[in-house]
């Protein structure tokens, strides 16, 4: 079927008998037909929702205290940069575990669940949410049993560090769960919350980015590519902006 080469295009919709022309939808999960022009709708897009401060969505009070304590040892506070707790890493992890990540949404969670080699990957039915419940319970239980009745968050900083080292090395055993897997994952998750965009609850006010000198969600460095070995001077910006975006002089 040859095209009409005149300046006006034949509207093929009439000629494509039977082809249903469905309206293009804003939802990205319904099947749509793309024909004749690129789809577009106003206000399109799917920005992330901000983690709002407040009560834990996933952790119990005890779990929250344990994770805050872990966060402050994994990333201790110092004079220049807050620690894991004050920068919101526990909030980050709480919101992540309460959401699709915690639930393993989208992962292949069908049986049978068989134990395999380490290089065959995670084979348990348990997702991160369930795992953390078990890990944190085991952590406090072990601390109370082995360290004078104290939960993890009640220990001195030095003792907390010993527990963490013990989990890494194997000296400090947890009941029913693998301490090394737990501590490795906790370190990874806390540090992830530290460096992720503040919209997710951690890295509050971009403290981690300021610490390392990362300028954040900038998209244009064209004027800096060829400036070698010079400090980039602009402050970091996140998905929700930065203080310099404020224009009001009075309210």
């Amino acid at each position: 079927m040859k095209r009409n080469n005149g300046p006006l295009h034949i509207c093929r919709r009439e000629l494509l008998a039977g082809a249903a022309y469905l309206a293009v939808s804003t939802s990205s999960s319904r099947a749509t037909v793309i024909f004749d022009h690129l789809p577009w709708t106003p206000n399109a897009g799917n920005p992330p929702s901000a983690a709002a401060p407040g009560p834990w969505l996933f952790f119990t009070g005890d779990e929250g205290r344990a994770v805050e304590a872990l966060a402050d040892r994994i990333i201790p506070p110092d004079r220049e940069t807050p620690g894991g707790k004050d920068s919101g890493c526990a909030v980050f992890l709480d919101r992540q575990l309460a959401g699709p990540y915690g639930r393993q949404d989208g992962l292949y969670v069908r049986p049978p669940f068989m134990k395999g080699a380490k290089n065959q990957g995670h084979q348990s039915e348990k997702g991160p949410a369930q795992q953390y419940r078990e890990w944190l319970a085991a952590l406090d239980k072990a601390c109370k049993a082995q360290l004078g009745g104290k939960a993890f968050h009640e220990l001195s900083d030095a003792d907390k560090d010993h527990v963490l080292e013990g989990l890494e090395g194997g000296a400090f055993k947890l009941d029913g769960v693998d301490g090394k897997t737990f501590v490795d994952q906790a370190i990874k998750d806390i540090q992830m919350g530290f460096f992720a965009d503040p919209i997710y609850g951690g890295n509050r006010d971009m403290v981690a980015w300021k610490m390392i000198g990362y300028p954040g969600t900038r998209y244009n460095y064209l004027d800096w590519v060829s400036r070698h070995n010079e400090k980039f001077p602009l402050p970091p910006v996140s998905m929700t902006g930065r203080a310099e975006w404020t224009s009001r002089t009075q309210r």
Partner: protein, 592 residues
């Protein structure tokens, strides 16, 4: 009961790079073409805008643009005597999903393979003798030469606006380019990208060691460009959010920026998104495809009849669909019969991280593009004498650091604790002065008799079909190759001025949990010998002549380069064969 749609001339399975290229070519022939894409429509202003695309957690860590394993996954084992277990969460590779496919979130590293890569078996046998190759290595010639493919490499590069410096212009070796590359008929369409500090420093160190470094060919453009279809692209702004992410400002070559806006305007083209093809249908003879069956998001089955079927769904899904549609003979590694699933390969990668004096060096690692970097090719392919080394193959090495996104780029020198005050201090001090090349060593992965794809006996997908099973391991040859390359790479990083190195070799066994590029290849390879290939040299199925299978599934083995340049070139090559030969006389293009 499937609902039947009106017949089209062509049905295209998967609207990524190769599907888009083929759709554009065949609509120019006046054919009625429909493309079916399992995933959603994607587009920069609506899906990767600069208001929120710079989100490392969402797109890199949680892989939001990629296929959900629950929608389809594979099982994996190293050896044939092992039980394969499902890949419940991605690790070693990230299968694409959605319109644009991997073309949306690739790094845009746009390489050509070497001339010797296409005649690998012949070449290596001639040079080193057959006994130099491991007994279980099943490398093959492609059935096509570099010279035949060269005009199509050129077409793909000009479609993309690829930024680079020619190294071999019609036989003349050019200063500043890759002296080892095959001859190209004309320069790159745009000049190479400007290189940030650490990449420039690598080039300098490599040069001083006697190598010939050159800028990596990049589909993130160095300047504004209008491609042959009249589509416009802008210059890359070095945002550092390239691989895993869509490009927000029309500067990364993708089907969206180089083909789709032009294609969609054609009255003889339409596409359906969120429509998953579950089977290619054959007639009673089994030698002719009649169309496909696909499922929409309401789980309604539809039948799309067509005269010509193009399977362009990415390596893994191509092979998966061939197996489930019972096209061709599945490979049996024990009996050494069959071809579908045979010669499956990945990429052998590793890296060396360098820690420099923070008082002297500030690399601003966040200033980068996906295909930035200075590379050397002295150790790729058969560019050097392998005789003394006891392995074959090779790869490029380069400082190809593509960004400084902090979750994965805040490294600390070896020996630093992984947490605590010491960690925090080291993270703070080292971020700006660390060289983290990513896949700094990018080596070949040759084919072996017991590395293959077939159907799993136990695990099923959401339709109740068996998952595809991967049997893959790292062989001695690739491990040796990687050690050799990594050591060479480490020398250069050290020569740059690094105080401490963290050398990471690629070691066996093959690990499904650590990312090693998504350069999966083979399983439906092309060739001249029907007994060892699924497709002839035009990517036409030997078994079903009105079926063509595009993508890296056609590679008989992988070379030491990123595959997309070759994938694009082969798509143009196959399209040309269809237009100039097949349409005039449908049927076998090559006698079996």
């Amino acid at each position: 009961m499937a609902k039947r749609l009106p017949k089209k001339d062509v049905v295209i399975i998967g609207l990524g790079w190769t599907g888009s290229i083929m759709a554009n070519e065949l609509t120019d022939e006046g054919l009625e073409v429909i493309a079916l894409e399992r995933g959603p429509w994607r587009d920069a202003p609506t899906n990767f805008p600069p208001t929120y695309v710079q989100d490392e957690l969402r797109y890199r860590v949680r892989h939001e643009l990629f296929l959900r394993p629950d929608q389809l996954t594979f099982t994996f084992r190293n050896k044939m005597d092992q039980t394969a277990l499902p890949i419940r969460s991605w690790g070693a590779f990230m299968p694409p999903n959605g319109v644009g496919g991997g073309g949306v979130h690739w790094n845009a590293e746009t390489w050509r393979f070497l001339p010797s890569d296409f005649v690998l078996k012949t070449h290596l046998t001639q040079r080193y003798g057959a006994s130099f190759l491991p007994d279980d290595m099943t490398i093959q010639d492609w059935g096509i030469t570099y010279d035949e493919l060269e005009p199509y490499y050129d077409r793909f590069e000009y479609l993309c606006g690829t930024s680079g410096t020619a190294g071999n212009l019609r036989g003349q070796i050019m200063e500043g380019g890759n002296p080892f590359e095959g001859p190209r008929s004309r320069p790159y369409p745009t000049p190479a990208q400007a290189q940030p500090f650490s990449h420039t420093l690598f080039g300098k160190a490599a040069r001083e060691l006697g190598y010939k470094p050159f800028p990596q060919p990049s589909g993130n453009l160095s300047q504004a460009y209008t491609n042959p279809l009249g589509l416009k692209m802008g210059p890359c702004t070095y945002c550092g959010f390239c691989e895993w992410f869509g490009c927000a400002n029309y500067s990364k070559a993708s089907p969206q920026t180089t083909i789709l806006p032009y294609l969609v305007r054609k009255p003889n083209f339409s596409a359906r998104d969120n429509s998953e093809v579950i089977r290619i249908n054959l007639d009673k003879s089994g030698k002719r495809a009649t169309g496909v069956t696909f499922v929409d998001t309401d789980n309604q089955e539809w039948e799309q009849p067509a005269d010509l079927v193009i399977l362009s769904a990415y390596t893994m899904f191509n092979v998966h669909l061939l197996l489930h549609s019972k096209i061709g003979r599945p490979y049996d590694p024990v009996a050494n019969t069959g071809t579908v699933g045979r010669n499956y390969t990945h990429q052998t990668t590793s890296t060396v991280n360098g820690f420099f004096d923070p008082k002297e060096y500030n690399f601003n690692p966040f200033i980068a593009s996906g295909a930035i970097g200075m590379c050397i090719d002295e150790f790729n392919g058969d560019n050097f004498d392998h005789g003394p080394h006891g392995f074959v193959g090779g790869g490029y090495v380069g400082q190809v650091q593509t960004g400084g996104r902090p979750i994965e780029s805040t490294l600390v020198p070896p020996g630093t604790p992984k947490w605590g005050a010491a960690w925090k201090k080291a993270a703070k001090e080292n971020y700006l002065s660390t060289v983290k090349p990513g896949t700094g060593v990018h080596g070949s992965f040759y084919a072996y008799r017991d590395i293959y794809l077939d159907l799993d006996p136990t695990y099923k997908d959401r339709f109740g079909r068996p998952l595809m099973r991967i049997t893959m391991d790292l062989k001695e040859n690739e491990i040796k190759q990687n050690k050799f390359l990594t050591d060479k790479f480490a020398e250069i990083i050290k020569a740059m001025g690094a105080e401490k190195l963290a050398i990471q070799y690629r070691k066996g066994p093959y690990d499904i949990t650590t990312y090693q590029t998504t350069h999966l290849n083979g399983g439906a390879v092309m060739g001249s010998d029907r007994s060892t290939s699924v497709l002839n040299r035009y990517l036409q199925s030997w078994d079903v002549p009105n079926l063509f299978v595009l993508g890296a599934s056609a590679f008989p083995q992988n070379a030491g380069y990123n595959p997309t340049g070759t994938v694009g070139a082969l798509a143009f090559w196959a399209a040309d064969a269809i237009r100039s030969k097949y349409l005039k006389s449908p049927g076998r293009l090559v006698d079996a």
